[in-house]
């Protein structure tokens, strides 16, 4: 798999995740569950930030696994918070 393919795959997964989360938020109550919606929106923003990271190649570096792991862990924590 080339570096470009790897980046495209990461972006695809993240974009699907953003769309799914947006659809899920649509069914929540914006008054009584607003804190959950806020947390889900934060997770989407983190995912969007990761998409941009995967999209840009300023320094010709490879996609950093560490940063991807940090992003994914952050999203996991946020989803956990939303479920509480």
């Amino acid at each position: 798999m080339t570096e470009g393919d790897r980046r495209r795959n990461v972006m695809f997964v993240l974009l699907v995740f953003i769309v799914v989360l947006a659809a899920l938020s649509w069914y929540l109550n914006p008054v009584s569950q607003q804190d959950t919606i806020g947390i889900l929106l934060s997770a989407e923003l983190v995912a969007f930030s990761m998409v941009l990271y995967a999209y840009t190649r300023h320094t010709d570096n490879e996609l950093s696994e560490l940063w991807m792991l940090v992003g994914a862990s952050t999203i996991a924590v946020l989803l956990g918070l939303a479920l509480l």
Binding site: V31, Q34, D35, G38, T56
Partner: protein
């Protein structure tokens, strides 16, 4: 045909951007390519502050749809937004936390620009404009604090206006009428509302445009260090840098949003004269350091104008930094005096803020002021003096001295040498207690000279031991790292 082929090769997003840019012409006229070294969050603190400003603009406008700026309705409409409007609580809290984030980022931006000397010739006026924007950001916080009309916000605002009474009447009266009119609650709230929603935001907007214009004229400031004098690869602003700013901007908004969702704002009770009589006044955190200065024993009562004069001088000195420090050197490690002053300033602001938070409404005796303010300056000054001395010693041994960025690793020392760190902390404790004893003995009537002498001796020995310990650690660290 060739253009069409290129657009197809670039992919849909890039070709859409290319299409827009070929019609608008941003890349040819605006926001020049930037050095690749600018791709770090610290170089974009100003942009994050602008993002925070616009985020507050959007949330502020949404809140204005419901908010009624009268003493009878302000609290009710604020509570109504938080409890009845969809996403209202997150909206209110996000607006508040974004304001906090903006103030914090503006402070970080100021200090980063101070240490990297980007305000030096020919960017002195950019520094001045940035300083005015910083003051306006604080004013935005001050005016917004009153708007919920809670007992805390009203009482703190009244104390602030009361403090201004110590100004000369020629200055105080115009300021008072500007801020609260004839003094009626309704006028005061309306004046603050107009300042918060019209005067200050539009002034900030104009200054943002002016600063971006000057940024375009002078370009991205070189901060010296490892890349000094070298040709650095440049990346176009559109769209490489834009994606980068969007990336860190999204992460930044995500952090503030999650905080707003998890820790929603809890409003204090509504203002009433009776409730205000029982409240201990405390300003918002970003004014706590000034509040603490006003509580210094030396400034309490008739000496209050002196406190205002001292605070004004501090602000004026910050404003005039590029005109005072005219040396061409930009690297922080080669400007020991200014770097140490900057570090002392940051330490004092943090210490005074914590102190102000922990002692609401309690005046600080002069002996404590000497111990805490003087002690902080002394400790930071000594640490930095030793650091620069050690760097000089290493340079004399012809060992390459690392740059500013890599010097941050200096902070690893305490963790690598835990036993020495423990010993240093014990010595620090002994030095603090003995210094405290020196000050309290010297300021107590009927001085006990024997005890004073012992305290001075213990303080001197512990300080000397700390200096020796630090020096040995720093030299061994620098030499070891440079040789490795």
């Amino acid at each position: 045909m060739d253009e069409k082929k290129d657009e197809r090769k670039q992919g849909p997003v890039s070709s859409l951007i290319g299409y827009i840019d070929s019609r608008v012409g941003f890349t040819n006229t605006f926001l020049k390519p930037l050095p690749v070294t600018g791709l770090n969050p610290f170089a974009w603190l100003g942009a994050l502050a602008v993002l925070a400003f616009f985020a507050q603009g959007v949330t502020g406008i949404l809140m204005m749809l419901y908010y009624v700026p009268t003493p009878d309705s302000a609290y009710q409409t604020t509570t109504m937004v938080m409890t009845k409007i969809p996403m209202g609580s997150v909206l209110e809290t996000f607006h508040l936390y974004m304001a906090y984030a903006m103030i914090l980022i503006v402070f970080l931006h100021l200090m980063r620009n101070y240490f990297t000397s980007v305000g030096k010739k020919p960017r002195e006026l950019m520094w001045v404009v940035g300083f005015i924007m910083g003051v306006l950001t604080l004013a935005q916080g001050l005016t917004g604090y009153l708007l919920p009309w809670s007992v805390l916000s009203k009482a703190a605002t009244d104390v602030f206006i009361g403090t201004l009474q110590s100004l000369p009447p020629q200055l105080f009266l115009p300021v008072k009428y500007l801020l609260e009119g004839t003094g009626a609650d309704a006028q005061e709230l309306m004046h603050f509302y107009v300042f918060h929603t019209v005067v200050i935001p539009f002034s900030l907007l104009l200054l943002i445009v002016l600063k971006i214009y000057m940024y375009e004229i002078h370009g991205h400031a070189e901060t010296g260090g490892e890349n000094e004098g070298k040709t650095v690869k440049k990346v176009p602003f559109f769209w490489d840098e834009t994606w980068y700013v969007l990336m860190i901007g999204s992460a930044f908004v995500a952090v503030v949003l999650v905080l707003a969702s998890v820790f929603p704002l809890k409003l204090p009770p509504e203002y009433s004269a009776a409730a205000a009589a029982n409240v201990v006044v405390q300003p918002d955190w970003y004014f706590l350091w000034i509040y603490q200065v006003l509580k210094f024993g030396i400034f309490v009562g008739p000496n209050e104008p002196l406190a205002l004069a001292v605070i004004t001088i501090i602000f004026l000195l910050i404003l005039l930094v590029p005109f005072i420090d005219r040396n061409k050197e930009r690297v922080a490690t080669r400007r020991p005096v200014y770097t140490t002053i900057g570090a002392i300033f940051i330490a004092e602001v943090i210490v005074l803020t914590i102190w102000g938070y922990m002692t609401p409404g309690v005046n600080a005796p002069n002996s404590q002021v000497v111990e805490i303010v003087g002690g902080t300056a002394l400790i930071v000054g000594v640490v930095f003096w030793l650091y620069f001395k050690a760097r000089k010693a290493v340079t004399r041994q012809s060992i390459t001295v690392p740059s500013v960025a890599t010097s941050v690793r200096f902070l690893k020392i305490p963790f690598k040498h835990s036993r020495y760190t423990l010993l240093f902390l014990v010595l620090l404790g002994v030095a603090s207690v003995s210094l405290s004893s020196v000050v309290s003995t010297a300021t107590t009537p009927g001085i006990d000279y024997g005890w004073l002498l012992i305290s001075i001796l213990v303080f001197g020995v512990s300080l000397y031991s700390m200096l020796k310990l630090l020096k040995a650690l720093v030299i061994s660290y620098e030499a070891g790292r440079a040789l490795s």
